[in-house]
Symmetry: C2
Amino acid sequence: MKIALVGVGKIALDQHVPSLAASPDWELAATVSRQGRVSGVEAFTDMTEMLTARPDIRVVSLCLPPVPRFAYARAAIAAGRHVMLEKPPGATLSECHALADLARAAGVSLFATWHSREAAMVDAARAWLADKTVHKLHINWREDVRKWHPGQDWCFEPGGMGVFDPGINALSIMTKILPAPVHLVCAKLSFPENRQTPIAAELTFTDGVSAYFNWDHQGPEFWDIEVQTDAGTLTLHEGGARMVINGAEQGAAAGLQGEYPRLYNEMAELVATGGIDMDLSPLRHVADAFMLGERVTVPPFDW
Amino acid sequence: MKIALVGVGKIALDQHVPSLAASPDWELAATVSRQGRVSGVEAFTDMTEMLTARPDIRVVSLCLPPVPRFAYARAAIAAGRHVMLEKPPGATLSECHALADLARAAGVSLFATWHSREAAMVDAARAWLADKTVHKLHINWREDVRKWHPGQDWCFEPGGMGVFDPGINALSIMTKILPAPVHLVCAKLSFPENRQTPIAAELTFTDGVSAYFNWDHQGPEFWDIEVQTDAGTLTLHEGGARMVINGAEQGAAAGLQGEYPRLYNEMAELVATGGIDMDLSPLRHVADAFMLGERVTVPPFDW
């Protein structure tokens, strides 16, 4: 299947392009980007132009930042294309609901991807927890924004979500592995005095679930989720790539693919079956945190 | 039908109690409140005690502030009672989804009320707009928090929503009368430097829709929504109580009841049919505004 990539930035080049190149299902047939391009692939700077010029491309994958994403998604759906969305699926919940309605009306597939849910041990964690009683779950998610989004000021502009940009990855795993849903009880969001989005967040959910996100963290990253249950403790490390149960490292399933190849496999299946996969629960938790959270001002952040 | 009121504060005494007293459908059989009570009605201070002592009361109406509301709603649903929620239906979107799931599983009715949607001319505005093309819609919603929530500090605490407490009334009308959904594009939220929630907000939605909310407004209130269409201008005044179309004042339907009596009529119907009415679109717009909005610090607010 031919596919177009829209938004050729860091995540597209690091993940999407190699995943598509390695897949037997997909052929990267065009890009749409103001500046980015992929060698050997037809490059457009205008979305409408691409949609008109390339009716043979039936699927569009959007890797833009969340704020401009809706307009591109709507244009693609209106042109009868299937659409795959990088996380988060939009800058607002309301636009995500609108997109799902538009896709349903147009009869095209729509996939709100959460790449961290495809990490090697997440399915295994979900399966192990399914019949356990969860007493506590704690997320410890710390990384250096300077390393992972160098100079990307949009992260700190309204709608950029700040530390929830990585934090929503943890929330996407949490909502996948927990046997029952939880909701936020209180939150503390730390806003640098010169920025519009938080650089750190402490979240307290119901049922013993909590999270700490920090984007101003030096040294090795922490991408850990520890779950205490009636059958002992399960810990996901490295964003779900590793799992330890009661001290014993668990092996991954043989032949398991990476996060983005798995997402593109799922998109191929969705297109084949005409499905829509638009789970908004991670984004809903983020919106809840902004609505319910206490705001604390912290020193300015500069690159 | 016997009903219990939980949370006997200003809104309960001003609206709920007289509406129930005037209705042939309802009998106010108990209250649950730390301090408030209604003369001649059995008064509890503990929810569990009321649910246990009064199995004859099948319906519970919750008039508490949003933050504590979930625990009471869950207890009532778990005890097999039908539940009616003051606006907004919760402090988070996630808990509202959870409540709807619980009510569905328990087979009880759940009603997220939006009293402003019951204002005299809102149904008429919706009907008139249904076949029009909307070019612009502007909400102008200004009132004095000192008059409408005197000394109620919870409004300015995390989860209290600030100016969105009245503003969500406008959004509940907007989402009812607009022929097609819109979503937020940008927002500016004004936070008093000594408070945790905004006292004013400017919202820009798609499709020419915008809103201005101000809670620090002296003098007569503005609760207006002006809609410019291909067939002229419709304006709702006084929170939907009055409607003007192309300069001509429109008359209300004869015998129309007030907002809260109409809500209790609808609740009686929902209970009779076993329905769930949980439209979260107004709260979703508020969450979107907090997530996407630019924060501006303004001078301190004091009562």
